[in-house]
Structures are given as C-alpha cells and as structure tokens.
C-alpha cells in the first residue's frame, strides 16, 4: 500500500495531467493524503468508505465543491481517527460538515444519521491563493504617519506665517477701465498659456492647447497601459510627462520674468521685473 506522501504525489500528478488548476489539484491531493493517513491508522476501514474522493463530484457542482474539499476533509479526519467511527463519511465537499461530525461523535451514536447538507458559503478557487499572499509590512497610522503629518503641517504653517509677516499681498490703485496697465498679465498659473499666445493663433493657444492638455490628463491612465510602477520600466511615460511639465514651467517663467511692456521680451536684469503675484 502506498504511503500518504506517495498518494499525494500520485493524485497531484493525475490532477495536473487532467488539466485541473494548481489550487484544485493541490486540494485534491491533500485530501487524498489525509484519507491515506487515516486509512493507515485504521486499517479496518477501507479507504473508499471513509470519504468518497472529491474528484467524483460532478464538475457541475462548481468551485465550491472542489476547493472546500481540503479543509473539510482535514477537520473531519480527526474525530474519525480517534473514535474509529465513519463520522467523516459524509461528502467532504461541503465546508460545513466539520462541526456536525464532531457532535455526532460526542453523542456516541453508533450510526451517523442521514443529513441534508446545506451550502453555507461558496469559496472561489482564487480565495485559497489570496490567503497565501505575503502579508504587507504595515505600521500604525497613529503615531507614525500622523506625527509626520503634524510636523509637515506646522512647518508649512510656520513658513507661510513668516512669509506673510514679511511680504504683503499686492494692492494696486483702484481699478480703472480707461487705463490699461502695460504689460497686463494673467495670474501666474495662466502665464504659460498667455506666453503661447505669442506663438499661436488665439484659438490654438487659448482653446485648443488647453483642451488637449486637459483631455490628455484625463486619459493618461487609459493611454498608459504599462502595469509597472518601476521607473526603469516606464522611461517613455516619465520622459513625456517631464517634457510636458518642463515646457510649461519654462513658458510660465518666461511669461513671469522675461516679458516687459507690450509683452515684449526683456531680460529681468536689464529691464526690470514686470510681474506681481
């Protein structure tokens, strides 16, 4: 007679050759090993009678039957081994059979009554693999993250307060619609677009380009199909985004510091700075 480990290997090979998924094959092989172990301890019971092999379940019974075979068979195996009763003779396919089986043993009743099995839960094949996933290294938010956040918050608040004490927000004279300041500039975050107006038709610089940028930003996750997050694997995306950011930064800086009266080019160290935040 084959040892339990041999049975395991044998069933595993059979299942694999049948084309079962690795999780299912493993579960069935483990169940067979448990049966073999029990059979070795209790030779009076033939292997077949203690638990029908789960592989005999029709495939139609679905993933629930296949994958739950392992835990059910294992939990049912213990009472059967100690009390030498066919307590585990119910179909090992149902995950709920472990507890009732033990109760039947405790009652000391000689025969196991016929039972209607209920399906309590459907365990998908992937669920087994999820349990085997490596646990992440995690830390408590309090105090580790929240302390860092508090420090960042205080640093920014402190720096902003000091800056506000030293530099006053601009307030020029009352608005006068008859007197256009020269140059008149948009707020700094639109100066990149205003700079583009020097090179393109207003409809291109003021409408088309911003629209394209916004749509490209919205679509970025769907355009970039590369699943990796490692910088080495996504050089193209990084170069494209950096190019886009740098272009706009340069345009904005030119608009801020290098544009004088008439929005003409001027070096800030020669003509002065025509820019207010």
């Amino acid at each position: 007679m084959a040892t339990p480990d041999e049975v395991f290997e044998q069933v595993l090979a059979e299942e694999t050759s049948k084309g079962s998924s690795p999780a299912v094959a493993q579960a069935r092989a483990k169940a067979a090993r448990v049966r073999a172990q029990r059979g070795a301890k209790d030779p009076s019971k033939p292997d077949k009678s203690t638990a029908p092999p789960p592989s005999s379940n029709p495939e139609a019974s679905g993933a629930a039957a296949e994958t739950s075979a392992q835990p059910a068979a294992e939990s049912a195996a213990k009472p059967a081994a100690t009390a030498t009763k066919p307590a585990a003779s119910k179909p090992a396919a149902k995950p709920t059979t472990g507890a009732p089986a033990k109760r039947a043993v405790g009652n000391g009743s000689g025969a196991v009554p016929e039972r209607v099995q209920r399906l309590l839960a459907v365990v998908k094949p992937e669920a087994i693999q999820k349990v085997e996933r490596q646990p992440m290294d995690r830390v408590n938010v309090w105090p580790h993250l929240m302390a860092a956040e508090m420090v960042a918050l205080l640093v920014v608040l402190g720096a902003l307060t000091i800056f506000s004490l030293m530099v006053d927000a601009p307030l020029r004279e009352l608005s006068n619609f008859n007197q256009t300041p020269n140059p008149s500039k948009a707020p700094w975050y639109f100066l990149g677009l205003q700079e583009l107006l020097r090179y393109f038709h207003p409809q291109v610089a003021g409408v088309t380009i911003p629209t394209v940028i916004i749509i490209a930003l919205f679509a970025a996750p769907y355009i970039d199909r590369n699943p990796s997050t490692r910088p080495d694997d996504r050089k193209f995306a990084i170069v494209m985004f950096s190019f886009f950011m740098l272009t706009f930064a340069v345009l904005t800086i030119i608009g801020m510091f290098f544009r004088g009266p008439g929005f003409n080019f001027v070096y800030p160290w020669e003509g002065g700075i025509f820019f207010e935040l």
């Binding site: 902003l160 800056f163 500039k185 919205f218």
Partner: protein, 257 residues
C-alpha cells in the same frame, strides 16, 4: 490629627476631576482613544482607537504600508494641499466679515482691511500666499502621483477626480484673483477671460455668462464672489471627499516602487 484628616483642597480637586473623568457625561463625549479620556496607554488597541474613533483621523486607515510613511515617497503633498484648503477656508471666512462685493465700496473695504481691521493684512497675506502655495502643491502632487505610477489600475478613476480637483483649484484661485478689484486684479482677469472668448461657437456666450455682461463690471464682481466663496468650495469639497474615499477603496497608498 485634625489637620491630616481635614480639608485638603488639592486632594479634593483631584477627586472631583477623577469623578468627572469617570462620569457618564465625560465618557459619553470622549470615545476610547481620545487623549482626554482617562487611562490612555500606548497599546496596539489604543493606537487603533485613536484613528477609528475620531471623525477627522478616521479618514486614515488604522495601518498603512510602511513605505507609504516615507517622506520621500509622497512628500506630504496631498495632505498639505488639503491643509492649505482648510487654512484658506478659515482665513477666507475671516476676510468675508470685512468684504462687501459691490464696486462702489469694495476697494474701500480692501483699504480698511489693510489699515483698520485687526490682523486684516496678515490674514489677507496668509490667504493670498496660501492660495498660490496650494496651486503649486496641487501641481506637484499631480507630478508625484505620475512619477510613482500611482494612477495605474485600480486608481485610474481617482486620477480623474484629481485632475478635476486641479481644475477646481485653478478656478478658485482665478475667481479669487478678481476680488481685490484693483488694477492688477481686473486686468489679469481681463486677459484670462479674453482667452475664453476664443472658444468656438459658444465662446461669446461663455464669456457673457461668466462676466455677467460683455465686459467686466459690477455683475462680474458679485458673480465671481459667489463662485469663489460658495459655489466652487461646495463643489470642491464633494470632489475632495470622493478623492479621499477612493484612496481608501482602491487599496490605500500605492506602491512600493
């Protein structure tokens, strides 16, 4: 002898405080994990309670991936954007006490804010510099998310919400820019809205709706004031909520790289 068992104010006070802390009122207000509750000790359970039992802190999960708390990963940019939004709300409410959006008096109000209102200038400075800083930090937050690839599945939709938040931030900054009603504000907004007029088909209508007329005028001020203090903050709070909620639902912080 009489003195020892007699009236001891310090001990009496300690007893009263103890009674208060153990009383029903106190315990009903401060949930477990609050630092005001008696008997906070550093234990895993209490560390979890601090986060779970606080309305503000429970935006966070109880635990995060270890790499996520590294400063070099997020640079705190998202959190700082949110903090600046709160700061701008608070300083903005203070400014609203002294500001009337009518062209005849608005500039007077601005001058009074600078010269007569307690801390008026400081609060205005905080509001203005904080606003510029928020635009920068939202931009940089977007860049960080891109460079760490945090917009990839399952976080695609949250990236979209983030882009909407960026646009809302720009709109908030732009509408606020007009409110001082000085030469700088009015002409900057003129330049900005001239661009909108260029939109095909609906350009003129969009500009008319935003300005409340063909050119900037009293209606514009009232319109942009309402947008700035009520409408846009209302919208952005909704999107901020979705943004934070999706961060949690999409599996917390992204990465590691």
């Amino acid at each position: 002898m009489a003195k020892a068992s007699g009236w001891n104010p310090r001990q009496k006070l300690a007893e009263r405080v103890d009674q208060l802390h153990n009383g029903q009122l106190w315990r009903s207000i401060f949930r477990p994990g609050s630092i005001f509750r008696r008997g906070y000790a550093d234990s895993p359970r209490n560390r979890a309670y601090v986060v779970m039992n606080s309305l503000l802190y429970h935006l966070h999960p109880v635990k995060v991936k270890r790499h996520g708390i590294k400063l070099s990963y997020t640079l705190c940019l998202g959190g700082l954007s949110f903090f600046l939004f709160i700061l701008l709300t608070i300083t903005g409410i203070y400014l609203m006490f002294f500001y009337r959006p009518a062209v005849e008096i608005v500039y007077e109000d601005m001058q009074r804010l600078h010269t007569q209102v307690s801390f008026g200038l400081l609060v205005r400075n905080l509001h203005r510099w904080g606003a510029h800083l928020m635009v920068i930090s939202v931009f940089l937050h977007m860049a960080r998310v891109f460079y760490t690839g945090a917009y990839k599945p399952p976080r695609e939709f949250n990236w979209i919400v983030g882009v909407i938040l960026l646009l809302l931030t720009l709109l908030l900054a732009f509408t606020g820019y007009l409110l001082p009603w000085d030469q700088l504000a009015v002409w900057a907004v003129t330049v900005g809205t001239e661009m909108m007029k260029q939109s095909p088909v609906v350009g003129d209508q969009v500009q008319f709706a935003l300005l409340g007329g063909p050119v900037i005028g009293p209606e514009t001020l009232l319109r942009w004031y309402t947008l700035h203090v009520l409408f846009l903050p209302f919208i952005i709070v909704i999107f901020i909520s979705i943004h934070f909620w999706r961060v949690r639902k999409d599996g917390g912080i992204s990465g590691p790289l």
